[in-house]
């Protein structure tokens, strides 16, 4: 089947749908007091919530928002990790030890606990959650970068380049980076999947932006209140998160196979 051969297909389809669909659905904020908690049907394909808001519109807009904020958080994590490693590469050797110690310390904190600390510092808000999500996934990325760099350095051509007088920066950019690139891209995907889950968890706990905004974590929380009478309210955002993360993981497997084949 098509998704066996092109394993990135589910992810691409899902992302395209989430990007285009907001133009075809109604207003995610419009309330309709008379239509509250309508079961899924003709008027509301995914039902409506306690305020009579269209769950389909909210899920679609929430998905777009999740893509954006998880993307921004991934950019913070990957960019930050590259910057930190770049600084360590051009500074004296002692820097690497400190970076490793710092990474180990940050990795000691469970992701959500670390995220909650950052959110406390930034006193919530949409950007607070994005910053927290990005910083949570920074330390794991630094560690992967560090490990793959250490193993890439063992290649003969790296040593040869250094013997020919290439500087640290030149070695890193021209000789190490191309070897590490597949690993770094794959880890960026892992970070993206993790960022979706972390920001949803923070939203579920009540952090991030206004209360009414369509945000998947927040919608899960709202759904908990009306669970007994309207289980479709938490179901839509929850299934959205699951499908998105699963399709990212599925696409990553294909990348992994391609790299393995390429190495062999």
């Amino acid at each position: 089947m098509i998704w066996d051969r092109h394993r990135a297909a589910p992810l691409i389809v899902l992302v395209l749908v989430l990007l285009v669909a907001p133009y075809f659905v109604g207003d995610p904020l419009a309330t309709a007091p008379l239509m509250q908690l309508t079961p899924p049907g003709f008027a509301y394909p995914l039902g409506s919530d306690l305020l009579g808001r269209d769950m389909l519109a909210r899920t679609v807009y929430g998905g777009q928002r999740t893509l954006m904020s998880a993307g921004a958080a991934t950019a913070i994590a990957v960019g930050g990790a590259l910057c930190l490693t770049g600084i360590v590469v051009v500074t004296p050797p002692g820097g690497r030890r400190w970076l490793r110690l710092l990474t180990r310390t940050l990795l000691a904190l469970p992701p959500l606990v670390f995220g909650l600390i950052i959110v406390t510092l930034t006193s919530g808000g949409e950007w607070g959650v994005i910053a927290a999500t990005g910083l949570v996934h920074l330390a794991p990325y630094v560690r992967v970068l560090d490990t793959s760099e250490t193993s890439a350095r063992q290649n003969g051509h790296v040593e040869a380049a250094r013997a020919l007088g290439a500087g640290e920066w030149r070695v890193w950019r021209a000789h190490l980076l191309p070897i590490m690139l597949p690993t770094l891209l794959a880890q960026a995907g892992v970070t993206f999947a993790g960022a979706i889950l972390t920001s949803a968890a923070l939203g579920f706990l009540g952090f991030g932006g206004e209360v009414s905004a369509p945000e998947w974590g927040r919608m899960l929380y709202d759904g908990r209140q009306v669970l007994r009478v309207a289980p479709w309210v938490p179901l839509a955002p929850g299934v959205g998160i699951t499908l998105l993360v699963m399709s990212v993981n599925y696409a990553l497997e294909s990348g992994e196979r391609r790299v393995r084949r390429w190495r062999e």
Binding site: L112, V113, L116, A201, G217, G238, I241, V245
Partner: protein, 305 residues
Amino acid sequence: MRAIARALIDALWAGLLAASLLFLALRALPGDGLTHQLIESGASDDVIQARRASLGLDQPLVTQVAGYLAGLARGDLGVSLLDGRPVRDALYDALPHTLTLAGLALGVGLVGGITVGTAAARTQNAVRPVARLAIAVGLSAPTALIGTLAIVVFALWLDWLPGSGAGTIGHIVLPASVLGWHSAAAIGQVTAAALHDVYSAPYLIAARGRGLSSRRLLVHALRACAPTIVTATMLQAGFLFGGTAITEAIFARPGVGRLLVDAALRQDYPMVQGVALWCAGVAIGAALIGDALSASLDPRLRDVE
């Protein structure tokens, strides 16, 4: 012995660094929660100054850090900014709930993880795709969704178990299973990957050639995977025992995670700091135990000196 001593010293360093970083991060930022709160409640400048002085917030930062670390050595985590309750007492009250839940969830995760990981790697029939799907969903679905679904199905529709609160044995079954599923997926993934590698190792091919039954082979292989499984399990233990904010929120249970979320929502810095420090300590300790266990299971990991 020397390896263990070195690991212990490393862990202490990481713990000390975590404590200082947490303190600096939460205290160095402009505007502490207390001042903010007092200004909002309309207190006069004198009152604010007096309150800050009584909590030592007017001291230089270095003095504050030193004082905090000294207090830590005596087991003093400071007091809550909101009700003046010692952070240590609040932690002590929350711990039993979190420890029971985390312990049970870890048990579910370990047993379930090894089972589902073995099924995903070694079974031939229809079990295999089911096991792989269970792992994929467990890793992808947010705990909030699984918890919510569990409440809908087992508490509301079937009415088998209570969906919220704490106290009886029945109250802990659902939360422990929901948490355990997530850990089982993580442990299962690692187990499946490790088994996959081990089964193509020469010694296992040799064992098969000698005519060992597939059950004996599996025992062999699992024994070889044990260090990997132990490491993954201890990582989960570090996360679980540090408090499980989401699960405690869904099932309305008291516990360390709940304490942290409430403190974070109200910007109660000493409380956030104390709970976070506990989490870091548990995770560092769990990793240490994991390393020691792996070393005792795998002679190659022992330091040859």
